[in-house]
Amino acid sequence: MTTRLFGERVERREDARLLAGRGRFTDDFEHGAAEVAFVRSDHAHARLVDVDVSGALDVDGVLGVYTHEDLEGGFGEPLPLLTPHEGIVAPRTQHALARNEVRYAGEIVAMVVAVDRYVAEDAAERIRVAYEPLPVQADLATADEVAGRFSEEVGDVDAALADALHVFTWRFAIERSASMPMEARAVVARWDIHEERLLVHDSTQAPTGIRGGLASLFRLDLEQVHVVAPDVGGGFGVKVMQFYPEEVLIPWAARRLGRPVKWTEDRREHFVGSNHERGQIHDVRVGVDDDGRILALETKFVHDAGAYCPYGIMVPVITAAQLPGPYKLPNYRYAFRALFTNTLPVSPYRGAGRPQAAFVIERTLDRIAGELGLDRAEVRRRNLIGPGEFPYNVGVTFQDGGLTVYDSGDYPRGLELLLDAVDYRGFEDERERAAAEGRRLGLGLAGYVEGTGIGPYEGAAVNVLANGTVTVATGLGTQGQAHETVFAQVVADELGVPLESVAVTTGDTRRIGYGVGTFASRSAVVSGNAVQMAAVSVRRQAQELAARLLEADADDVELVDGEARVRGAPGSAIRLGQLAVVANPLRYAFGHDATEAAMFARKAYASGEAPLREGASPGLNAVEYFSPRAGVFGFGMHAAVVEIDPDTCNLLIRRYVMVHDCGRVINPMVVEGQMLGGFAQGIGGAFFERLAYDENGQLQNASFMDFLIPYATEVPVPELIHMETPSPSNALGVKGVGEAGTIAVPAAIANAVSHALGRPVDRMPLSPLQLFEILHPEGTP
């Protein structure tokens, strides 16, 4: 009997390949391709007076040197605006190669193609660019050029604030950070001059989008362009931006030169050429009653958009919609301005505006508790949405343009599970004992609600091969989320085949041409349900065909152990692969199954029927699309316990507990992996990740020596507590979990540090120096 795999801790099918060094990442393709180096602007804002490429042309091995004036037609136009929004007032995007002006340090001015990267860099160094510096604005706090603005109001905030017994105003800020996947970006393109086809391998989170855009730009039929996201070495948001200049320029050069062209981003380029996120400053005005219930909350905030806004104003839109989190804000108003600065453009990084949201609401709750002398857990308890209040309409617009309506959850239970696990009630005693020994302990709480599984759609193609292998293809790619395993689990269950018989291909437009992408914690929800739908369709086809062959009722046919069997009729079975052959009744000459298939066709004709029933297609296969009406909402509540040495400001995380609910879990091992990995990035956001621009718009820490990512020595192992509240909105009952681990971590840490030090912590990230400054606001003691 086939064991049900949904919900099982199944080992990953992708691991053997990746562990043996047989992964295929973009730079692993096309050895011998021409390679590219770019000249990037040294200035954060300047007019391009002259670009003299003559020195580069003389370098042996150079194949082409290009500036903006070489880009014909659409290639010379500004790159697209990916996510339009009515709040965007200045939809400014950059050119693939800078035209007349550069607006951030790192913007591409010229491109060199050569026989290899070494030669290309030699030549790039010989290009002379004359700049006329223009005024630089690199500081969000003083920026004023508006990219977009938006505001919404639920209820009547002014009236509620006027009636509130207590009104407080606070300012909270989170600094700029970045995804920093271990594999930077890479693009390799091959133009087939005979077939007029373009094949691009791209380390992207959205191969279908890249394909569609390139077809449009090259004025080719969609069928002439294919894009493959092979193994992708992490994404975390930065690779969902489309189009980066290189994604246009590399295919363009491949066609122009008639040979494969490759560009593999080095880490320095990644720091100055691949998008950042997080920089926001929030002003909060909140009105509460004596019990700490929030009556009204207003946040006005500014968002650092960077020099261009190709990703629109998606990040602040998400912050605004998700700021209420698991709490009831009966009157809520936000108004943000996304401001241009002469820094790298901004697009989502794991969490995508939500870490800022959680930081603001959770610091607000702690400060309310502090002002009113209330217990911090009790203040949360009083403001949480109740388990009977779902579906819960927050009242503001979600990122997809629909309403923000939470589908299901039990937030109070999550809080109580957390408080028990971390021994919240016993903590004060422990804290006092520690204080007597000169140690400062603090406990912080923080929660989040994460909208996941947004549309518009994903598709899946499921096909049974003659040997019994079931192939599955999804339009979206994978960057480590174990899609090859979890989608196989879904299909194996539905078709009654062992996991080893299912082969999943992700992110290859040659296999399925339509899809959206791997971002916004949406793959398990949207693609997972599409996979399920396609598998159900194949199962029905198999049942019907088997019923004809075995002269049974389709409802009595079950798929088990790779066979179709008639219930209650032992010995009456046909292998799934055999069914696939019969379902395609052609004269395939090889093998016994082919003979059977031909006989099946004869029998069908003999009984006056067509071999393919009306509406059927050859073989056992289906392509299905899942298009959700709305997102589904995961939830979590974290507790951090920290100890701070007041002399050195060294901080130790003594415990970190995460309660989380992502609906039904397909593979607990994979979900835990997502939570632990997300947590590590949250630790980075809490303590280390700060991209520091100086007043000239120069990134001061553009290397792994200076921009710190936590190592194994910095990341403790958190304790995980799972809740499973199925989503009523999709057949699998799942919600996304990709970003969940990250969102609440800076907020929980800030609340813990604030508790330990007895002082507000309203900026992130926190270095030991900042801890010292918080502890000694008056200066060195």
Partner: protein, 154 residues
């Protein structure tokens, strides 16, 4: 200039420019693409290989300086019949990888632990692996995998 690189027991005679990095020669001349390049300044550890028995950053070495050295890469870890090395097997069982990009570097660094001091404490182990960056896993699975593989050493 011509050099001999002995990689996973096989000698390769290659003609390389003196400036060419060992990581580039392994990946693009010998097409051993299991060794990955994550930062090209020796911080992330993705490119770690074994050179004469010690973990080394192949992005910080010129290929010519490895002339005659014994190099081991991730491709040489599994047995000749494809049987996974105990470390590789432990990474799979303990979910020690997600995207898999940093994994070869971790494996080669862990190989030194496995071969020289397989019974480290957790803190020592984290210190030993503390020169390798992973952005996916949060390290818990990696540390558990290396510990479990070490415990299996007789």
């Amino acid at each position: 200039m011509e050099v001999t690189l002995r990689v996973n027991g096989t000698a390769h005679r290659v003609d390389v420019e003196p400036r060419r990095l060992l990581s580039d020669v392994l990946r693009h001349e010998l097409e051993l693409t299991g060794t990955h390049v994550g930062c090209e300044h020796g911080v992330c550890g993705c490119c770690t290989v074994m050179v004469d028995g010690h973990p080394a950053r192949s992005c910080l070495m010129l290929a010519v300086t490895a002339d005659g050295a014994e190099i081991r890469t991730v491709e040489g870890l599994a047995g000749p019949d494809g049987e996974l090395h105990p470390l590789q097997d432990a990474f799979r069982r303990h979910h020690g990888l997600q995207c898999g990009f940093c994994t070869p570097g971790f494996l080669m660094t862990a190989l030194a632990v496995y071969e020289e001091a397989p019974r480290m404490s957790d803190a020592e182990l984290r210190e030993a692996l503390g020169g390798q960056l992973c952005r996916c896993t949060g390290y818990a699975g990696i540390v558990a995998a290396v510990r479990a593989a070490g415990e299996s050493v007789p």
